[in-house]
Amino acid sequence: MALKMVKGSIDRMFDKNLQDLVRGIRNHKEDEAKYISQCIDEIKQELKQDNIAVKANAVCKLTYLQMLGYDISWAAFNIIEVMSASKFTFKRIGYLAASQCFHEGTDVIMLTTNQIRKDLSSPSQYDTGVALTGLSCFVTPDLARDLANDIMTLMSHTKPYIRKKAVLIMYKVFLKYPESLRPAFPRLKEKLEDPDPGVQSAAVNVICELARRNPKNYLSLAPLFFKLMTSSTNNWVLIKIIKLFGALTPLEPRLGKKLIEPLTNLIHSTSAMSLLYECVNTVIAVLISLSSGMPNHSASIQLCVQKLRILIEDSDQNLKYLGLLAMSKILRTHPRSVQAHKDLVLQCLDDKDESIRLRALDLLRGMVSKKNLVEIVKKLMSHVDKAEGTTYRDELLTKIIDICSQCNYQHITNFQWYISVLVELTRLEGTRHGHLIAAQMLDVAIRVKAIRKFAVSQMSALLDSAHLVASSTQRNGICEVLYAAAWICGEFSEHLQEPRQTLEAMLRPKVTTLPGHIQAVYVQNVVKLYASILQQKEQAAEPEAAQDVTQLMVDRLPQFVQSADLEVQERASCILQLVKHIQKLQAKDVPVAEEVSALFAGELNPVAPKAQKKVPVPEGLDLDAWINEPPSDSESEDEKPKGIFHDEEQRHAKQRLPEADEEELARRREARKQEQANNPFYIKSSPSPQKRYQDMPGVEHIPVVQIDLSVPLKVPGMPMSDQYVKLEEERRHRQRLEKGRKKKKTKEKGKPRRHGSLHTESDEDITPAQQVDIVTEEMPENALPSDEDDKDPNDPYRALDIDLDRPLADSEKLPVQKHRNVDTSKCADKEDVPVVEKKVKKPKKKEKQHREKEREKTAKGKEKEKSSKHKKKKHKKEKEEKSKDKKKSKKKLPSDEAAEPVENGALDEEPLPPMSSYCLLAENSYIRMTYDIQGSLQKDSQVTVSVVLENQSRSFLKNMELNVLDSLNTKLARPEGSSVHDGVPVPFQLPPGISSEAQFVFTIQSIVMAQKLKGTLSFIAKNDEGSTHEKLDFKLHFSCTSYLVTTPCYSDAFAKLLESGDLSMSSIKVDGISMSFQNLLAKICFHHHFSVVERVDSCASMYSRSIQGHHVCLLMKKGEKSVSVDGKCSDSTLLSNLLEELKATLAKC
């Protein structure tokens, strides 16, 4: 009650709180802007006050205004003030405001770094939480770099609430500061097995996001995720994992095979649609990557398709939409399975939801066949008529064209029908895709010779009809088709029935309202028409008629000369002069037709769009070299204007120039034919080569097969494609009858087919109405196959493509804020003591931590990963805790091993019993030393020896120094300036019961032989009774194994390596082994640094690589009681030594 009163008084103290503001805005609907500017003035006053509560209130109001779209960037500094308030209430508001309005461009953001760091390490988890949440919204590269280490530490916070937030935000940090990925990754990986499900799922989330972008770096995590997938029941996590596998399988097909079964099980069992959908999607992705086509997978596809059908049939529009979406993915690889559901897809075309209709349209592309194309297009055409919005209609139009033209017009049996469809589409008003229709018309008319006559008749009808010209005045793309129509009528004018009529149509005054580029084509093709009319009339000996046509030209052309379009004007002027000249000649009764026609002699071949690009640069031609001396820096810019001439013009030039040299041309043609005949990818334009080259010179070799027309060529008036549906049916019916008759008599002669292999059986029954040849587009000889690299260099995720299995280098450590310049050894020493104390105080916490650590250790053992060791260098404090834990876990090891059941997981890499690679170096009453040797592929003559020193006494150990007797081959790397007799100081001291790890670098010349080095550890032991100088001798054993670095190898690369024959071979056999092959393999892999390439029953191939790059391949077979190992290696001495070491390990098993 008292609180409420105080609160009330405070509220009054504020000029206006958030509620008042909101209410005020709602009450001032008419003059909202004015009211708000008034409020902003008030807020500015409030921000000037010293009272933080008032400031926070002002910032809160600003945040609301920001949402309404007002700029509040001017208050950025005040926001930071509120963020740094000590009270959670205000801090929360400050961070909220910052997360809403800060972005990378906010300049004051750098001022927040220290505040955020402070909040991150705050004892209150809510302070830390609110800072993490805010940071996730406005993290910049600078902030990420400066805070990466702090956040990484939080990943091991005691409270799961903080851990999960820290883990999630790491993803944002990685994106902004990719260098942090490698140092932070080992810890992130640990979090996959965090006891708290929230943290675990956060880690799964982050790794999935990372892996989705750069899957190859995360392949090594597959076994771990597989285990998670089979054990997790949380659908949110499952979806992420399944998605991750979808990204991994294309890189590792073996994984795909393993996945199919659990995924299909999930599909069968789950009731959650989201999970089902994810599974189906991943199964599809897996099956696509397993393109080798395993027969038993058709069942999985069938299952997917069935489930999708259920989704599509569902009344929920969302499921319907997604079902269709997934279906289209299957369609790409398994069209047959989807085609069976054609009915469903067609049904969806009638759905009232446009987005569903669009999805269904996508699917149609794969549904068409020769048989149903006409029917489907008919249906689409009826939709075009009904469609309301132009976007959907345009989509329909492009789909129709796409469906018909796909795979080189594979499904079209009757091109007359197709032309009619195109002509019908020109009646669409307001479409943007006129140029698409035009392009199709041109393509078909040029490439399908047999259809030209029909096409020309249709095009002349188009030119004649007024509606297209009339519509050009409106902003309308459909008039583009006139471009095509004019060109077709001009180029193939010999097919025109009434050339004079078409000529007149093209010269109508209305034409000048068309866009410039269309008029230009008109002008050019008018001359072609004119030429052909002249020829006709002269042959028919009708000079008057010829002169009449000339007069028409002279009368009408001036309208184009006046055009505002330069291209039109220029062409028209030239042509007008030409025609006037002809007129003069005609007046003198000189025959001109021959010469005018010669202007347009020859035929155009279709040229592939990419042809120009693919012309190879001849040898010895340097395109960058100057042909002439570079001009002096004169001002004159005589650049030629580009792009004035249209495609069509270019074609003229390209085609007609080379004809100068007939011989050369013929030679090239022969060469090309030869090449095309040998090239399996070249779609032959005709399957009957004998027919092809019947002494036809020049372009005439392009074959045209005679048409057997069963349909009257001239359809009166504007054609209706519908008519063809009926005609087509009749024709097919007739054919079937005929065939039946023929079968009895004789075997049918092999009919030339265009793409026989691609058709389904039923398709093949349908013979095309016309035997049409589709002329293949021309490509230059020796065309280069060009693989364009489409990768976007600006992809933000590219920077995260980082190899995570490589051990960390010193330079990669995260920047840590340091305030002290004290010697590191002392520093570590100081920190040790409080840690121990803290642990004593909080035994419970310690125990918990310990348990966690142990888990981590086990996980690491399984992973055969040792990278975490490198991480330890950085965090001394932790390192010590860890190595201590390590000790404990090691002592427990035997029981663990016994307890751990050998799982019969489905993956090759089954989980292994925990192992440690550390072995005993020396031991006395004071100290126990264990060591491990690791090499790195980056440094070919160096290994790092990690020595764990454990204080077993009650004394305090200090001044530790390690020294070895160098050999010629192996030397301890000492600090600069010290002699070979000086030891290397250990950078820490050991209180009683504590253990820690020191690392020493050795340089090595030859690695083919094992070696032992004698050494001494000297130290001072100090206790209550005084201090003594002690030492411990040891023998450091550098086995050949320690020079090997676990390197994954794919089976194909492995096979190549073995085939190369560069490797020497040797083998061993060990008897009396009782251990299971599984464990044996794990042991060899772990202790001898091998990775399994392939495993079949009790036989496995393994690979490893030495730091100096020797390849080592092993084949291990297990018999009843014996194991044989065949080895191949680039160095025979190394191999025999390695095998000896293997033998020793195996003998212990």
Binding site: I10, H103, G105, S201
Partner: protein
């Protein structure tokens, strides 16, 4: 998830959360475009649409549209689930939530969202945990609020 928007039937923005860093101008442009597109859709249409290279998932609850933008590979159904979960959370917190609750307590709506999602990823799937965290933070707020008044 790239961002989440809440807006009314009249197209008034009620809440916006961006998980990608963009300038204010860009944000406004995107918001306007999406609000228009979504409002133009008919009630019986499906909840997904393709927009630029993103997918928009939206759902209408009473007078409010909840709208999320996700990337190509993300799961639409789980995004719907996220929206629904968020609505449930608001409902539990405010006790049968209405648009006005979100208008007047917009900062609370943000706090709840921040406990549920972080950086565009689901942070906590348990409704109980989220509400517990919010309650405790609120309690802390009350305490620090009252101490600030008393001191």
């Amino acid at each position: 998830m790239q961002f989440m928007l809440l807006f009314s039937r009249q197209g008034k923005l009620r809440l916006q959360k961006w998980y990608v860093s963009l300038s204010d101008r860009e944000k406004k442009k995107i918001t306007r475009e999406i609000v228009q597109t979504v409002l133009a859709r008919k009630p019986k249409m499906c909840s997904f649409l393709e927009w630029r290279d993103l997918k928009i998932v939206y759902k209408r609850y009473a007078t409010l549209y909840f709208c999320c933008a996700i990337e190509d590979q993300e799961n639409e159904l789980i995004t719907l689930e996220i929206i629904h979960r968020y609505v449930e959370l608001l409902d539990k917190y405010f006790g049968s939530v209405c648009e006005l609750d979100i208008i007047f307590n917009f900062e609370k709506a943000y706090f709840i969202l921040d406990e549920f999602l972080l950086g565009g990823e689901v942070q906590e799937t348990s409704k109980k945990n989220i509400l517990k965290a919010i309650e405790q933070a609120d309690l802390l707020q009350e305490i620090s609020y009252s101490t600030s008044l008393l001191c």
